[in-house]
Amino acid sequence: MTRHHPEGTSLMEFSAGTLSDPHALCIRLHLEKCPLCCSRVDTLESLGAVMLEQQPLNELSEPAALIFDAILARIDSDTVLLEAPRRRQDLIKKLLGCDINDLPWKRQLGDVSMLDVTDRFPGQTERVVLQKLSSGGKAPAHTHRGTETTIVLQGAFSDQNGIFNQWDFAVLDESDNHRPVAVGHEDCITLSVLSAPLKLTGAFTRLLNPFMS
């Protein structure tokens, strides 16, 4: 069971459809495994519907009478009349085209490997990276300049905020100086969305940081 959840404020932005695709993906992956946050999103979607019904409509909001005829004409010419239920699918696999363990990982510092997947999300400004911390491995200590939203896809890591298991959700910002350690027998793989580059703080500062170029 997931123990670290997205904040209510983020779930609200998600339900209103204001989040970028990478952020929405992090939330969606979490929702797939978290009944608690699903029920929160249900409530928030109802909030959207109730907000909409309470707006002061006026004659400008009346669609032209012709619109309904145009809609009927479209559904009459529809070849696919009714939609079938959608299949659940592995979103990460769909995004990457393969299993996360088969990716062309690039070794970074020590126990950390990384893969930049920003190009899978055209038309947005955030950096999206997959990171892999070898089982038992330690990442260099670092802080974040902007905010980093992370979801655990496999394995688990721990830092000063606790243990983050698969599908747990973490948001880090400038105030967090953390040094994650992969716990358990599996490599820990995370998906992170970065609003700004991160900054190394420990002995590794000399090394070229892929985020700081």
Partner: protein, 199 residues
């Protein structure tokens, strides 16, 4: 421009009417029921498009949403969401899709809008369905009337204008932290947070 009288807040029974109509559309392709849904929700969706700065595409969005309602109506399950919630999620997704098409990036995106933002009941074997969903709308409607205006203003900008909390903060010239704390207070009142903590 004359503003029509604000409609009274609908009761749950009244709301059931829309869900019943939607079920009729789904089961029997009932066009009269479909037209009643159009009369009620059409103006809301056009309003939504205009509030989102899509005035030039407002009627196009209304069309897309209603065509989608027709096609999906057979999947609608009143136990999973009230009609208005279900239609809101369709309007939200069609808006996102339309923006993607305008930016001409839809073809390059490997993850579709509806992989990320789902319509209640659209997926087979939906893992978590509960009475919670049915309670949601009535509870939200009741609680919303109790919120101070500064909170509903922020929420309206998020849902009607699709602004992030940061954008709302910039527009109202208040710190992001203030926006978030207003949202959190509202969510507490709406029991989005509190009720869950008691589980």
């Amino acid at each position: 421009m004359t503003t029509l009288e604000q409609k009274p807040v609908k009761s749950e029974r009244r709301n059931d009417l829309w869900s019943n109509l939607l079920v009729k559309v789904g089961k029997n392709q009932d066009r009269q029921a479909y037209h009643q849904l159009f009369e009620h929700f059409g103006p809301q969706i056009k309003y939504y498009a205009m509030a989102n700065g899509m005035a030039n595409h407002a009627e196009e969005l209304v069309q897309e949403v209603f065509v989608s309602i027709w096609r999906r109506s057979c999947l609608y399950d009143w136990r999973k969401a009230a009609a208005s919630t279900w239609i809101f999620t369709i309007a939200r997704n069609q808006r996102i899709d339309m923006l993607r098409k305008m930016k001409r990036i839809s073809a390059e995106i490997s993850v579709e809008t509806e992989d990320l933002w789902q319509i209640p009941g659209d997926h087979e074997n939906e893992p978590f369905t509960s009475l919670h969903r049915l309670m949601s709308e009535r509870r939200v409607r009741e609680s919303l009337s109790l919120l101070p205006e500064e909170q509903t203003t922020v929420i309206a900008k998020v849902y009607m204008e699709s602004k992030s909390h940061q954008m709302v903060a910039d527009e109202l010239r208040i710190p992001l932290g203030t926006v978030k704390s207003r949202v959190r207070l509202a969510l507490n009142k709406l029991k989005v947070i509190l009720q869950d903590q008691n589980k």
